[in-house]
């Protein structure tokens, strides 16, 4: 019942790029304006050499002072017009393409939020982040630049070659032919370069992993004195990056050198043949000057063609990667006729519930039958890996059952609106999840309308008085970007977050494991009051917490092996005793 990754072959990169048109459409008018501005700008720049030709052949050759001024002023005006047109194109580009990029990023984020945890377990967040940053930039660059100049450069190319051929058919033909090697060099370079660049990226990624582990695992490295071992691993990774970078340097150097060589060689030939042509009066002096300037103007559009094609390819791959995410269907969603429920007595029932991982052979949970009456607290006990956390995740539908069903007051939870269900059910996770935000924001995660009194009550229940001692109290930023808290403090905030909304159903996954003995017993006392009027499922590893529960369920091999009170199970079920009896054999044998 989890999301399957989108079929990669379903859409080719180009088809994916085409699918992005819906994002481009709102800016179609602006794109057309950009295109027109670019064409006019290039047009203006092509006319300048022709003006130069007229200046050389007319006023300069024939000493016409009065004609020189208007011609030079025309060149000046054309040059300045080109500048203004470039400004217009770039200015519009900042609004259009950035607006498009933002909308796509919003959509990716919203979509990712709707995908179930199973999806996020499979995908590394770095992979998803690069789709929302690097890939989007690639698309933006192509739409705002590549697409426009693909058209403009082809137009420039055609116009200039036509002009050159008109000036001198033979020379023009030679120039046109000389550009073929440039295009070939560019295309080959791009292919080679993108391969090497990707290799650098991958190797830098590997190196980053080694850096990350050396930083996060610093205690273990120091505890075992393994600095040298880590340094060796790092050295290997850094060397790999270095070698590939050098390969890249050589490739780039050859490319740039060739890119300068071909047009310069062409210029040499143009100079020779052009001068000869002038000598034979087939070409005017001004014509030769114009010819040379025009040839220089061709270089950039031709060079750029390689980059534009590469940028198109990059954007197409990026689009494909973006759609890989956007095409993943969220499987845990509201059914069409899902019900809104505001309050409920809170009778939670597992009816032959089971769960198997997609593609998994053995079920993790099977045939779970358990009724938790309104207000009752049931503790879930089992050895490590017996499926306790999986079972806890089924209630707020972070995962859906693959067999049987779970009901709340007789209604299948899949027939409730997700928002309704998750308002009624609050969860404290085994690993407390805190965000880089204020304490207030973290505690009122699901209850943004909680009052300060509500927050104070929840914090005092969770024995989180330490919040008062934080530099800015409730407004102190915590998490990775703020103040770092101890494991016990984090756990207490997560607990406060779970109890603050007075939820009908509480799922507490080993909520006290990181607390010291004294705090634990204080929290337990306070928690007992809350549990009196909530339906609760309590995952426990430690005997001390069991006192909070009315009944205990023993999870073994993916199914409930025994249900009863703690003392009943202690008396009758050896497996239960084995898991919970603190009287270790060693102590007994003394």
């Amino acid at each position: 019942m989890t999301t399957l990754p989108a079929d990669r072959s379903a859409h080719s990169p180009l088809a994916s790029l085409w699918r992005l048109r819906s994002y481009v459409r709102p800016y179609a008018g602006q794109l057309v304006t950009m295109l027109v501005a670019a064409l006019l700008g290039v047009g203006a720049s092509i006319v300048v050499p022709l003006v130069t030709k007229t200046v050389v052949d007319g006023p300069v050759a024939h000493g016409q002072r009065d004609r020189l001024v208007p011609l030079a002023l025309l060149a000046l005006a054309l040059g300045m017009t080109e500048g203004v047109l470039i400004f217009i194109r770039r200015w519009i580009q900042t609004t259009a393409t950035l607006g498009m990029e933002k909308r796509m990023r919003d959509d990716i984020y919203a979509h990712l939020q709707s995908l179930p945890p199973a999806f996020h377990d499979r995908w590394q967040s770095g992979q998803l982040l690069s789709r929302a940053t690097a890939d989007l930039s690639a698309v933006r660059r192509f739409v705002g630049f590549g697409l426009v100049f693909l058209v403009v450069n082809v137009a420039t190319f055609a116009t200039v070659i036509a002009l050159l051929v008109r000036l001198d058919p033979l020379l023009g033909g030679i120039v046109a032919l000389s550009l073929i090697p440039v295009i070939v060099v560019c295309a080959r370079f791009e292919r080679g370069y993108s391969v090497v660049s990707r290799r650098v990226q991958d190797q830098t990624g590997d190196l980053a992993t080694s850096i990350e582990e050396s930083a996060t695992g610093i205690r273990v490295i120091k505890a075992f004195g393994r600095r040298r071992l880590m340094a060796e691993a790092f050295e290997t990774g850094a060397r790999e990056v270095y070698d590939t970078q050098l390969a890249k340097v050589r490739l780039r150097a050859t490319f740039w050198a060739l890119l300068d060589l071909v047009p310069n060689a062409t210029l040499g030939i143009v100079l020779l043949l052009g001068a000869l042509a002038v000598g034979q009066h087939r070409l005017t002096l001004g014509g030769l000057v114009a010819f040379i300037t025009l040839v220089l103007q061709l270089i950039w559009p031709v060079e750029a063609l390689g980059f534009i094609l590469a940028s198109g390819q990059e954007a197409a791959t990026a689009a494909q990667r973006i759609y890989e995410v956007l095409d993943s269907r969220p499987e845990i969603v509201d059914r069409p006729d899902a019900r809104v429920v505001d309050d409920s007595p809170g009778c939670l029932r597992f009816e032959a519930a089971g769960f198997t991982y997609p593609g998994g052979r053995r079920p993790v949970l099977q045939d779970i039958n358990l009724t938790i009456a309104p207000g009752e607290t049931v503790a879930l006990v089992g050895a490590t890996g017996s499926g306790k956390t999986t079972m806890a995740g089924l209630v707020p539908r972070l995962t859906d059952v693959t067999a049987g069903r779970i009901t709340l007051d007789g209604v299948d939870i899949r027939d409730l609106r997700l928002t309704s269900l998750r308002r009624l059910v609050a969860t404290a996770f085994e690993e407390p999840i805190l965000f880089s935000a204020s304490v207030r924001e973290n505690v009122t995660l699901g209850t943004p309308d909680a009052t300060d009194a509500d927050i104070a009550a929840a914090l005092s229940l969770a024995q989180a008085a330490f919040v008062d001692e934080l530099p800015w109290g409730l407004d102190t930023r915590i998490g990775e970007q703020g103040l770092s808290l101890s494991g016990g403090q984090r756990q207490r905030l997560a607990l406060a977050r779970a109890v603050i909304g007075r939820p009908r159903v509480l799922i507490l996954d080993d909520p006290l494991s990181a607390l010291d003995v004294t705090t634990e017993s204080l929290v337990e006392k306070a928690l007992a009051r809350v549990l009196a009027d909530s339906t609760a499922l309590l995952v426990v590893h430690r005997p001390s917490t069991i006192a909070l529960a009315d009944r205990v369920a023993l999870l073994q091999g993916g199914t409930l092996a025994a249900i009863g009170t703690h003392s009943e199970l202690m008396a009758d079920v050896p497996a239960y005793r084995a898991i919970l009896s603190q009287e270790s054999e060693e102590v007994q044998s003394r």
């Binding site: 300048v48 003006v51 130069t52 002072r65 020189l68 500048g83 770039r90 990029e101 933002k102 990023r105 919003d106 990712l112 939020q113 998803l128 929302a132 980053a208 850096i211 050396s214 996060t216 695992g217 610093i218 273990v220 490295i221 120091k222 071992l229 990056v241 340097v249 150097a253 310069n264 060689a265 100079l271 020779l272 001068a275 000869l276 040379i292 300037t293 050895a383 490590t384 890996g385 995740g393 965000f435 935000a437 204020s438 207030r440 995660l445 309308d449 407004d475 102190t476 930023r477 970007q481 990181a514 010291d516 003995v517 017993s521 001390s544 069991i546 084995a578 898991i579 009896s581 603190q582």
Partner: protein, 608 residues
């Protein structure tokens, strides 16, 4: 009460101490200069070669347009006068030579700068990595792993990017602006002055752009950082996000951050949208002026048409690279800010330094640990006032006491994660300060609550305790600690990849693996700081049984909240405010009426 406004969610945080000013000023700081010169010193000779190459390349590049002008002025007239094309051929041959020289010099220059740049980056990477590894855990705790990582990834990338994407072209561009200016002056002074008249305007526009874009660039960086943090945290905490119906508010926050990011980017893009066409406009206007004035001079016969052509060709080469400078500027800025931060890191003195001449401990380490007059405090808080403690070789000592009593501090001093402020901690009578890292940690190994695992196989993680050991020893260690069973049940057994930070395993399983790792290391002294806290009862029982054998012939220091772990100790120390208030065998203390007896009673009651 209505939902809080979108902006207030972040809360208040302390200032970051590594916020440095970006920009050129950072490059001028002393420590950055010192770092730069020490990294470049080995390349001094290559630098001279570089200078020679770049001068050669520039001269050859300048010769091209000049030869074209010469061809027009000197090559064509003889042909027109039917005196043959000899001069023209000569000039074209010169052009061909210039082209080849330019190409070869440029390629050599690019390869050489590329190599120097990569050497620079590699050496910097090595130094920063090694230095972070040398710095104490206290430093790492304070600095946070996130920043240690970003110094070595995003900051290093910024430097690498500048080296890779353009510092060489930047040098060529700047130099060609200079040489073209000189060449124009040599060709014709009045026309050159007209051509260069726009230069002050260019400088002014560039200065304006630099100033504004420094601010805009910084805002963009800050804005994107917030977008990334929010994005990644949402995904990492997706369970909490969904279970607490956080999606709409998260989206509102994200949309707000995303809008700010777009606005910041737009601001900096708009600066380029003004700067680049502005440069183009000035350049084109200059070409127009040169055409006008040059036209008059050619008309008057003061200069020839070829010279005018050379000027027009030069001007194009003069302005185009200047336009590209705007693209390098951001890269240059972030690289210099990054270098400044890295220089700061490298200046940080290691607070737990290795001895210059380490004491050879010898092969038979007995494992006697002693504290003599040890005083220790964190910043303004004194934790250990003055501790004297002797732990004979082979003894298992449990430390108990309330939070903040100094248990973990003692453990960390034994593992030399910190050095005492006064007094000395010694192993077999040798001060820990006199031992080198590897000797010390072969003798003393600490297992903590966090039980960090590296990504890679289970076997690899256990072998971390003793690199190079064969598979059977690894399995023995796992078996001894009671971890063999669950490891064998993993999909690929000992070869199963535990993923980042051991994410594939449960907290309890991670602890079992880290126990096996410590067991394999076979140290004389074992320090267990809350090392069994995540284990469930059956696993803990297994570990305890194993510990009895493991600890039989070595010294051990155990800290545990659960008193069940403490019971295997020979001796219990009850700590309070950094002082030992009770000291004796557990059985003896339980029988008494002291603090340990009280704690033990409370614990027994909690077991139901």
């Amino acid at each position: 009460m209505s939902a809080p406004p979108v902006e207030s969610w972040r809360g208040v945080a302390a200032e970051r101490r590594d916020d440095v000013s970006t920009g050129v000023s950072a490059l001028l700081r002393r420590r950055t200069r010192t770092l730069l010169s020490s990294l470049l010193r080995p390349h001094r000779r290559s630098m001279w070669l570089l200078v020679a190459l770049i001068v050669l390349q520039n001269l050859a590049a300048l010769a091209g347009p000049w030869l074209i002008g010469l061809g027009i002025d000197r090559g064509i007239p003889p042909i027109l006068h039917h005196q043959g094309a000899g001069t023209l051929w000569l000039i074209v041959a010169g052009f061909a030579v210039a082209t080849v020289v330019q190409t070869l010099a440029q390629r050599a220059f690019l390869v050489l700068t590329g190599r120097i740049g990569q050497d620079f980056v590699l050496e910097l990477r090595r130094r920063v990595f090694a230095h972070f590894q040398r710095l104490s855990t206290a430093f790492h705790e304070d600095y946070t792993s996130g920043r240690v990582i970003s110094r070595q990834t995003s900051d290093m990338d910024a430097i690498s990017e500048l080296v890779e994407e353009g510092i060489d072209e930047l040098v060529i561009a700047v130099l060609s602006v200079l040489t073209i200016g000189v060449a124009m002056l040599l060709l014709d002074v009045p026309l050159a002055l007209v051509a260069l008249s726009s230069f002050p305007l260019l400088l002014w526009l560039s200065a304006w752009f630099r100033k504004r874009s420094a601010v805009a660039y910084r805002r963009t960086r800050e804005a994107v950082a917030l977008v990334i943090v929010h994005f990644v945290e949402t995904l990492a905490g997706i369970r909490a996000v969904q279970a607490f119906r956080r999606e709409p508010r998260n989206f509102a926050i994200f949309d707000d951050l995303n809008t700010r990011y777009r606005d910041a980017t737009r601001r900096s893009f708009r600066l380029i949208a003004i700067y680049a066409p502005g440069m183009k406009l000035i350049g084109n206007a200059t070409i127009g002026l040169v055409l006008l004035y040059g036209g008059f001079r050619a008309l008057d016969g003061d200069i020839r048409v070829g010279v005018l052509t050379t000027f027009l060709l030069y001007l194009r080469r003069f302005f185009d690279p200047l336009q590209d400078l705007s693209q390098f500027y951001n890269a240059f800025q972030s690289a210099s800010a990054a270098l400044e931060k890295l220089a700061g890191v490298l200046e940080e003195p290691p607070s737990v330094p290795e001895p210059a001449r380490p004491h050879p401990l010898g092969s038979s380490i007995r494992g006697a640990v002693a504290f003599a007059g040890v005083t220790f405090g964190y910043r303004d808080r004194l934790v250990l006032p003055r501790l004297d403690l002797v732990i004979p070789a082979g003894q298992t000592v449990a430390l108990v006491g309330p939070t903040g009593a100094g248990k973990t501090t003692i453990a960390r001093l034994v593992g030399r994660f910190y050095d005492p402020d006064a007094g000395a901690v010694s192993l077999d009578g040798v001060n820990l300060r006199e031992l080198d890292d590897e000797t010390l940690h072969r003798a003393i190994v600490t297992v903590t609550q966090e039980s960090f695992l590296f990504s890679g196989s289970v076997a690899g993680n256990i072998a971390f305790g003793r690199p190079g050991v064969d598979r059977s020893r690894i399995e023995e260690a796992a078996e001894a600690i009671g971890a063999h069973e669950f490891i064998s049940a993993l999909p690929a057994g000992y070869d199963t990849d535990v993923r980042k930070r051991g994410g594939r395993l449960s907290a309890g399983q991670r602890q079992l693996v880290s126990f096996a790792r410590a067991f394999l290391a076979d140290p004389a002294v074992l320090v267990l700081d809350e090392a069994t806290s995540s284990l469930d009862v059956p696993s803990e029982r297994l570990v305890q049984r194993a510990l009895r054998t493991i600890l039989a012939d070595r010294t051990a220091l155990i800290i545990a909240h659960r008193l069940s772990t403490v019971e295997i100790a020979d001796r219990v120390l009850v700590l309070e405010d950094g002082r030992v208030v009770e000291d004796g065998p557990p059985a003896e203390l339980i029988g008494g009426y002291g603090r340990y007896a009280a704690m033990h009673r409370q614990w027994m009651e909690s077991l139901v």
